[in-house]
């Protein structure tokens, strides 16, 4: 059973690796932030699976903390509007 948990965690890790392409591609800062939000959710799932595979409650605590805090980066981002304006043009120039 624990092999199965680990296998599933592996597939979820792969989805994160592939999803990173969206952070790289953008095109806007908002897109990148959104992708980072997705990784938070997936990382929580991976941690829960790893915690079950090794039967360690501490790993579930890590999952809980990440669940609590992933919103904060996105909220800081939303409340500091000028970042987006500062990088928007650059982001578009540097790609595609």
């Amino acid at each position: 059973m624990s092999t199965f948990y680990l296998g599933l965690a592996l597939i979820l890790l792969l989805t994160i690796s592939i999803g990173l392409v969206r952070v790289l591609r953008g095109p806007t800062a908002t897109d990148r932030m959104l992708a980072a939000q997705l990784f938070g959710t997936t990382a929580v799932a991976i941690l829960l699976l790893l915690g079950q595979a090794t039967d360690s409650p501490a790993i579930r605590d890590v999952a809980l903390i990440i669940a609590l805090l992933t919103a904060i980066a996105a909220m800081t981002f939303v409340r500091r509007i000028d970042i987006d304006k500062a990088t928007e043009t650059q982001g578009q120039n540097s790609h595609d």
Binding site: A58, D61, L64, L68, L69, D82, T87
Partner: protein, 325 residues
Amino acid sequence: MIHPGPIFDLILMTTLITLAWLLLAGKDLFRAVVLFISFGLLTALAWVRLGAPDVALAEAAIGAGITGALLLVGLGKLGSAERCRRTVRPATALQRLTPAVLIAVIIPSVAVILLLELRQLKTISFGQQKLVLSLLDISGTDHPVTAVLLNFRAWDTLLEKGVLLLALTGIWSLDQAHPLFHQEPLSPVLKGLSQLYLPILIIVSGALLWQGSYAPGGAFQAGALLSAGILLAALGGRSLPSYWPGLPLRLLASCGLLVFLLVTALTLLTNELPLNYPQELAAVLILLIEIFATVAIAVILAAAVAGGHPAERHKHHSPSPEKKP
């Protein structure tokens, strides 16, 4: 059938290294910051895989919250353009050559030598693990990491509290804190979330602190979580009462170090060695240190994100000259 564990490790490391390379090589700084936040998440996974849940907790608590906020606020102040008004004097040939040699020759060769050295490593080694476990009974705590952190190597932790306070002093000496967030009509959802999350954050942080005596957790993780709570309150549009930034803030920021020093002094009275707790008091003293350390860490980290000393309201001495806003 192949076990998925090693494949997981391999892919995790490949992703981390690629991520590090891309975020340092790219042009867009905002992208680098977002990738660095993801880098922190994946590093937490690595600590979990290596059997270091304490480190994973700390990484999750700061990597997902405070580091991202610090970098985003810093980026907002600096802007992402590389610019300098200064006129550049052309570098001499030697000046151009030295870094090139360093980068192209020395760094790769040292890296390769180190990687080759890894082959000499013993595959199984317990380090200090058995020693720590055998001394756990007299440490006043049931969790090996806490025992090392606050008893066997308590000196390190004392100095770490000093470093935190020193960092805050450095930040305060550089600038005055400006309002972190723009005044704007807030989304009620943001306000609601901050109101909902704040009590949860405080409870979880308290639980982590308490849990440190028998399981992964402890002052730093709890403090980092609490500082995220303070940040969240600020994001939700709250501000501190006006009398706060004076003495109360300074006391809270330094109470971790002060209590730790007090305990050190007390142990010197009863014992010839500093921080060598009497065995029956060890648990109480460790808890005492950890509670105040949590508060101090939370306040210091939150103040670090604000990025400057608080505006002086009661004029005790002449404040630093006003700068352009």
